[in-house]
């Protein structure tokens, strides 16, 4: 058997066995009935004690959603989703009374996060990182709240922000991704349950990394989180989201919306380590991940940087984008996407250059193994007023074995003659010769594959915050060969 085939076989076994986040937490859940209709939307809103404007906003989104069609242009295929076959709200019963401190939180929930490597209690929490832990439809706890308050930074579950800072939420919610932006965004707007809200006031550099950890636990439940981050003039924040789910045979639905707003000279660095359950080696189960992420650089010289490490999900549909409105604003997209077994990913970015001298940079590294299929889909658009705008895109694909696919679909639209767009793309394969070469020099096959893959993704890993780069590198290795280290 050729070395790569052998490796791929081994990888296949390992990656399924080593999805170490696949456990389930047994807690009593409070759910609203299965299915989706206006009453369900009202029920979700009532559960969250929402003001009327938000309920109206949800209902409007729901009505528009019923008139929309699921998009079919992505290069992914999956059985038709029956949206009435999901629960749209599930929360641990113990959280119904809104525990005031961690002492009141069900220890089972705290233990869940501990097992995921995200300790929430005072003694063990990650130094320098404030965490909002979201379990199915609700937030369990947010750490370091006081320290952030002292700095003037608002970091809380969005449902709490609706109650405490309604003026801010109402001012910004849906202004970057309108309710009718696309099918999944409309769905999310109608039924979103929790997520994080961040507001960094003028001139404040957020004193620590902010992080939200999403966990889908309940069966047949969709997770629809909504994240809204606003960085006012001269402010800075670095934010990281992580996600996992138990191993289940049925497909679970995850349709998130993330909106970022950046004012004059402000900067948001947004990193994602997405490790939803990818399904088993035969493609059974796994998360359907349909996500709309968009940043609006409204201010002059504002900056947004998206970094994503995507290793999970059965199907991924995701294009974190930047609308570069402010003159001199900058957008960056760094991506590592790994698909194995029967995973499918259609992912990329959109850089919309509106203002003068705007700049964007796209570095995408796709790795396909097993029988997986992966597409990079990217749009670079230079509008007529984008005088002197520049884009650089580099898009590399690495194939492992001979049954996977990699596709690159770049769209480039330039309406300003002074704008410059550069696009570079490569496709390469981990060859038997490379593995033989490394092994003849004393490395075992796993080590050799890890070395080759890490060399390939290095440029993007370097963009992650230090605290997570090591974890992400380990994740890359686990996703492909598992037994190293």
């Amino acid at each position: 058997m050729a070395a790569t085939v052998d490796t791929v076989e081994r990888v296949k076994k390992i990656s399924v066995e080593t999805y170490k986040y696949g456990f389930e937490t047994d807690v009593e859940m409070d759910r609203i009935p299965k299915g989706l209709n206006e009453d369900i939307v009202r029920m979700i809103s009532a559960k969250k004690n929402e003001p009327e404007w938000l309920l109206d906003w949800r209902l409007e989104a729901y009505r528009r959603w019923t008139q929309m069609e699921e998009p079919d242009w992505a290069k992914v295929s999956f059985p038709k989703i029956d949206y009435n076959d999901y629960y749209y709200y599930a929360a641990p019963k113990s959280l119904a009374d809104k525990p005031k401190s961690l002492d009141e939180v069900d220890p089972k929930l705290l233990d869940t996060y501990k097992r995921l490597g995200i300790p929430l209690d005072e003694q063990e929490r990650l130094a320098g990182v404030a965490v909002d832990a979201v379990f199915d439809s609700v937030s369990v706890a947010t750490t370091f709240k006081h320290k952030l308050e002292e700095a003037g930074v608002i970091f809380m579950p969005i449902s709490e922000a609706v109650a405490k800072h309604p003026e801010l939420v109402q001012k910004y919610l849906g202004t970057v991704v309108p309710t009718t932006d696309n099918y999944f965004a409309a769905l999310n707007s109608a039924v979103f349950t929790d997520g994080s809200f961040v507001y960094v006031p003028k001139g404040v550099r957020c004193p620590m990394e902010l992080s939200t950890y999403f966990r889908i636990n309940a069966q047949e439940t969709g997770q629809f989180e909504r994240t809204l981050i606003v960085c006012d003039d001269d402010a800075y924040v670095s934010y990281l989201e992580g996600c996992t789910a138990p191993m289940r045979d049925e497909n679970q639905l995850h349709a998130a919306v993330v909106e970022l707003i950046v004012m004059d000279n402000a900067e948001i660095k947004y990193s994602t380590v997405q490790n939803w359950y990818p399904g088993d080696e035969n493609g059974k189960g796994g998360i359907y991940n349909f996500v709309t992420k968009r940043a609006q650089c409204r201010g002059v010289n504002s900056k947004v940087s998206w970094t994503q490490v995507e290793t999970g999900s059965a199907v991924t549909w995701k294009y974190p984008s930047c609308v570069l409105q402010g003159d001199g604003s900058q957008g960056e997209f760094y991506s590592i996407a790994i698909t194995n077994n029967l995973q499918q990913a259609d992912t990329g970015t959109k850089m919309i250059h509106v203002g003068k001298n705007t700049r964007s940079r796209i570095i995408s590294k796709g790795i396909s193994a097993g029988r997986s299929d992966q597409t990079y889909r990217g749009l670079v658009k230079m509008l007529p007023k984008a005088q002197g705008a520049r884009n650089f895109t580099q898009c590399d694909s690495l194939l492992i074995g001979d049954r996977c696919g990699a596709h690159t679909v770049p769209y480039i639209e330039v309406a300003n003659p002074s704008a410059a767009v550069e696009h570079e793309a490569t496709t390469s394969k981990v060859s038997d010769d490379q593995l033989f070469y490394c092994r003849q020099r004393g490395m075992n096959e796993e080590k050799a594959l890890a070395l080759i893959v890490n060399g390939f993704v290095k440029e993007v890993l370097q963009e992650l915050p230090m605290e997570f780069a090591v974890e992400a590198q380990a994740l890359v290795e686990i996703s492909l060969e598992g037994s190293v280290g």
Binding site: M1, A2, A3, S428, S431, D432, D433, Q434, F436, Y437, C438, R439, Q440, R441, G442, M443, N444, E445, K447, L451, I452, N454, G455, F456, K458, E459
Partner: protein, 250 residues
Amino acid sequence: MLSIQNLHAQIEEEEKAILKGLNLEINPGEVHAIMGPNGAGKSTLGNVLAGKDGYEVTEGSVFFKGQDLLALDVEERAHVGLFLAFQYPVEIPGVQMLNFLRTCTNETRLARGLPELSGMDFLKLARAKAADLKINPDMLKRSVNSGFSGGEKKRAEILQMALLEPQFAVLDETDSGLDIDALRIVSEGVNALRDGKRSFLVITHYQRLLDHIKPDHVHVLADGQIVRSGGPELALELEERGYVDYEKAA
């Protein structure tokens, strides 16, 4: 050191026999040259010894320091001291040469029961060995073999050999793609590693490499067998007469 007996090997997919009963004994410190016409099985011999996938040994045995070499995995053969200098060194884009060399060296050291070298210690060692081979230290920062000239690739192979300190090295057509100067530098590197204990098997089509790396024994490989053995003078004879006599036999 190395004892090959009645070795038969074929390409797995084609079931086409390439080696047909090859015998060879190599003692510690000896340099053997294998010469022969194209298609005689020279590179197959190197690949079979190193354990490359796609070849099947159908008969015979290979013992290395008393150990059944054919029973070992590719990396285990490297760990016990077998090194293959590739005719076409493989490019690995994005993997820095230094990181590659360090991983190779430390994996090998661990397998041999030696402690790993720290980043600092290894850097010093790699720079010193590179200087010996007149390699520009900037090469250590480049991707493995990517965009290397023919001469750079072969020098990098010798650098790897110097770091891994094998007891037995197979040089597969190390002279191919080299100009005279590069040939001289590479040969000097090999000669510097001749310490009276380390053995070499030099596979070549041309005699000119043997002007620089003086062999103790020369063998002619034709149609999967060693058909003639002699001293260095045999190489000169082949240079003069070519492989005509042996191609007919094939």
